[in-house]
Structures are given as C-alpha cells and as structure tokens.
C-alpha cells in the first residue's frame, strides 16, 4: 500500500560534490517504509521532464516522522530535485520489495556484509538503521567504495550506528586502492553468511559472481528505468532465473528492486 505524499522539506544539504541529502516530513511513510524500498519522485511541475524518478529511501526517523533521500545529480530530473530547497516534494511510496531483514538472516551463524558502491550507499543506510535496531552491529561489516575520498558517503553516520567499516577508492585517496568488491572477496572466507549489496551494475555483477562461487546467499538492489513504479506498465523488466529453469522478466518496481543474488541474470 503506497502513499501519495506532499512532504514538506525540512533539510537540504550537499553531502559530496553533486550529491544531495534531502529530508522531508512524512510520518505515515516513515512508519510503513522498509529498507530497500524506494520512492517515485516528481522533479518538475511541468511536462518536461515528464516522468517521476525512482530514489531509494535513505533514512527514516520514525519518531520525528521524517524521511531522507540521498541522491546524485546525473541528469535533468535529479538536477531539478537538487534545486528544490524548501516547499514540498511530491513522492509516491514506499514502493517495491526491499531487503529481507527478517530474523532468518540475522540469526545465521557468521557475519553479515553490507556492500555499497558510490551512490549505492544510499539505501544501505536505512538497512543499517534497521539492522542496528533488531540485531547486533558488531556482527555486521560495512564495505563502501567510491571513486575518491570525497565521494565516500555517510561514513560518520554509519559509524555512529556502531558499525565498523572498510573503504575502497579508485584513486586510493582513502582505504584500499581499488574496487570495493576486492574487499568483499577478501572478507567472504572469514565467515560471512549473508551479503546485502547496492551499487553500479558491474559491481553487483561481480558480487553475484563471488557469492555464487562461494555458495553464500545474499541480495542485490537493481536499477532499471521505470515509468509507473507500481507494476502496471512493464517498463522495468529485469531478467531473472525462473523457478523451473530458464529466464523470465520480472518487474524491478514490484518484484524488486532487491532480488536474491542467485536469481539475477547478468
């Protein structure tokens, strides 16, 4: 059951060059949202750009009835969104199937790895908020990657939740020089029992390959172009493995955006 919300913007910040964090009031949304779900956001009042933009729920403050998003300016829609510093923001949500944070995952022996690449860190913060609420942060290892140190997002916030973290940057300006997937590959044999990942497609592809090889379960959040966001238009087809063998299309907006790592067809 998604809501249509005109949320009053209460904070607006440029968190890294071209990356914005916006918080708005939406108590009902805050109550029902689950990590990994997304919002479908209208960026203009006119007809151009026309479609809403899918943006993950980044953080939820249920006590204060606030919802936060963290997004990168990549095109016209996100550029318009970044300029909206006050007033209301028109969002539909929460949409999609988020991460499964049920106790079955947290109870497994071993630790959990949460892997984010670039702006892929956005939905992981909400996930970490929930994991901290229902589980033990000490059992969770957070791995974040980015191009450069100034693109590493929300490091402090994650640490404040009690998590330990390893970083990777392409230019080595902080943490490991190289891909965040290399950190994961090193970590997997150390008793990782479940992995959550979000980031660019090549990174997720590598994550899925490593997990399959190691026989470790996990889930990844995919991105596909979306029109309706609610399962009605079939725009957002992702190829996944069908139960009976073979592949078929699933809708990223309602069947995802989070899929079991083993089901995704790359």
């Amino acid at each position: 059951m998604a809501l249509l919300v005109q949320g009053e913007i209460v904070s607006h910040m440029e968190r890294a060059p071209g990356v914005f964090m916006v918080e708005f009031i939406a108590p009902n949304l805050a109550t029902v949202a689950r990590p990994g779900q997304f919002l479908h956001i209208r960026c203009s009042e006119g007809n151009d750009p026309l479609l809403r933009r899918p943006i993950s729920i980044h953080a939820v403050d249920r006590d204060r009835g606030r919802v936060g998003i963290l997004f990168q300016v990549v095109g016209r829609g996100t550029a318009l969104l970044a300029r909206r510093k006050d007033g209301v923001i028109d969002v539909m949500g929460p949409l999609g199937r988020g991460f499964s944070t049920g106790s079955h995952n947290l109870m497994r022996a071993g630790s959990i790895a949460v892997v984010g690449g670039g702006i892929g860190a956005a939905p992981l913060f909400f996930l970490l908020q929930e994991l901290a609420r229902c589980g033990d942060p000490a059992r969770v290892k957070v791995l974040l990657g980015a191009r450069s140190a100034n693109q590493i997002l929300i490091k402090e916030e994650i640490e404040n939740l009690g998590y330990t973290m390893e970083l990777a940057t392409d230019d080595g300006s902080v943490g490991h020089r190289g891909q965040v997937t290399e950190l994961l590959l090193k970590l997997l044999p150390e008793g990782v029992s479940y992995v959550y990942a979000c980031g660019p497609a090549p990174m997720l592809k590598a994550v899925c390959a490593f997990l399959s090889e190691a026989g470790i379960p996990g889930e990844v959040s995919l991105e596909e172009r979306m029109a309706c966001g609610v399962g009605a238009c079939l725009s957002c087809a992702c190829q996944v493995k069908a139960a009976g063998g073979g592949v078929h299309y699933r809708r990223a907006c309602v069947d995802g955006p989070v899929f079991p790592a083993g089901e995704v067809v790359w």
Partner: protein, 305 residues
C-alpha cells in the same frame, strides 16, 4: 443534476474517462491510489493468444514532454487473463475492456472468441496499431483492407462491443476509420503511440532494446486532437480519444474535437490520481459553463466550421 454518462458503441460508462491500455496494468495496481469504481472504464493491457515475454530492456526512454515505450506486448496470454485476472475485476461496477492483439487475423478472432461471454468483460479494443511487435500490430493498422478484415473477424467471433484502436502512423487516418466502420466496428479508439526512437549519444546506440518505440504523453496531444477532429467529421462512430491527456483541459480538448469518451495513459505514471481529478474537473466544467449533459460537449468545437 449533471449527466456524465456516455455510451461508447454499446459500452455504458458512468463518466467519459477510461484508462488507456498498457498504462494501467489490470487496474489492481492502482487500487492503492484511487477507487476503481469511480472510473468510466478500465482498459487492460494488450492480450494475445499465448503468453508473451516482451522486448529486452531498456523498454522506455523519456523524451521532451513524452516517453517512448517498447514493452512488446508482454502479457500472460488470454487463458490466464480470462481465467485468473478478469475474475478479480468482475465485482467492479466499472466496465472492463480488454485490449486484444495478435500476429494473424485468426489470432485476433481466437482471443475475441475466448473472451466472448466471460463475465466481467464489457467490450474489446482491437489493437491493430502497436508499433512494438514484429508481426501483426501496426501492420494491420496501416492498411484499410487489413484493418477491415481484422475487424470483421473479431466481430464474427464475439457479441461484445468492438472498439478498433487506430494508429496515427498513417497517411490517411480517415480512410482507416471509414474502413473499420464499414467492417462493423462499434467505436473507434485513437490514437495509439507515434513511432519514434532515441539515440544514446554517449554509447552511440539506440536507447531502447527494441530500437524503435511508441511515443506517448503530452508531446503527442496535438496530433491526437487533430486525429479525433478529422475522423469525427468523416465517420459516424463514437470515438474514444487519447494521447497526452494530463489534465481536465486536455480531456476537454478531445471531447470538444469529437470524442465521446477519453482515455488517460501516460499521465497515470506521473499522477496516479489523474483519472479521478479529470472526472471531477469535467463535472466542474459542465457546471460552471452551464451544461447539464457531457454529450452536449462532444464535437462542439466544430460548430460553425
């Protein structure tokens, strides 16, 4: 009392606002935002004899004031639609119209026949104008004789009212309309999407997996209004007008141009409550402008021309 009921070739609608095929799923997806009972009609996704996987992604691209889609008629096939999906809509006090498609004339007739008599189906909309499939679809929609043939075959296969959906990608839309009218269509639906494409300048490749796609949204509205205008003058069948309707005023353009009813498509994606707002907006317009029957507006812009 304002009368907003219309009769679309035998389909009675409580107001002139339907949802356009392919943009509203099977209706159920939008129940979280609107009361389906309030709609004039629900037109569901194109249905074919067998299930279809659809086209490879990306399936959509945004364009100025519009979008391209190349879904490729992904659908669960007529058996599942008739057996599993329509039963979930049968309780609605809103007519459900099934959009049907196929590769051959026989395909259309088969789907029509399977839907004939299925409780909860109020009518059929023949999609002879889908630009996103290799065979059938637009092929039938670009030649008056083939269009008439499909229409006759479907009419023979069903007792349901039959709406024929026309493609704007033709030289002479009026000839198409006249041919299907002659072949027994009960109403016309127009327009389907314009054939278009977009190229990704960074990758130097077409954006869509299917290369070309169908253009919809506000960008196409002037073409759609013109189509309704021209056909209204030439062919005496009720018209379901669509193409870029976002607001009440847009819907009124179609009705004044000659549409008996309208369908809202792409707008649902932007504003899931668009249909309801337009239904209310039309009522307000009628009241404010001193009309008491929506049918008084149909074609009114032709007066004196």
């Amino acid at each position: 009392m304002i009368n907003t009921t219309v009769n679309l070739g035998g389909i009675k609608m409580k107001n002139p606002v339907a949802t356009a095929s392919g943009t509203f799923g099977f209706g159920l997806e939008y129940q979280q935002f609107i009361q389906l009972e309030k709609l004039g009609a629900i037109i569901v996704k194109g249905t074919t004899p067998a299930p279809r996987q659809g086209n490879p992604p990306p399936r959509i691209a945004e364009t100025p004031a519009g979008m391209l889609n190349a879904i490729g008629l992904q659908n669960p096939g007529v058996n599942k639609v008739a057996g599993e999906i329509i039963p979930r809509l049968v309780h609605l006090n809103t007519p459900v119209i099934i959009n049907i498609a196929g590769d051959t004339v026989e395909d259309y007739a088969l789907v029509a026949n399977k839907l004939d008599g299925v409780p909860g189906v109020a009518g059929l909309e023949i999609n002879i104008s889908c630009p996103n499939v290799k065979k059938g679809g637009i092929q039938f929609g670009s030649d008056p004789r083939s269009a008439a043939e499909v229409t006759r075959a479907v009419k023979a296969a069903t007792k349901l009212p039959v709406i024929v959906k026309l493609s704007p990608n033709v030289t002479d839309l009026v000839a198409m309309a006249a041919a299907v009218a002659e072949a027994g269509a009960d109403a016309l639906s127009m327009i389907n999407t314009l054939l278009g494409m977009a190229i990704d300048v960074d990758r130097r490749k077409p954006v869509l997996g299917n290369i070309t796609g169908g253009l919809s949204g506000p960008a196409v509205r002037p073409v759609a209004v013109r189509a309704v205008w021209q056909v209204y003058r030439a062919v005496k069948l009720p018209i379901l007008g669509m193409g870029g309707i976002m607001t009440t005023r847009d819907a009124l353009e179609f009705i004044l141009a000659g549409a008996t009813a309208v369908a809202v498509g792409t707008a649902n994606f932007v504003n899931p409550r668009a249909t309801i707002e337009i239904i209310e907006g039309i009522e307000n317009y009628l009241r404010e402008q001193g009309f008491n029957n929506i049918n008084q507006l149909t074609g009114l812009a032709h007066a004196g021309i």
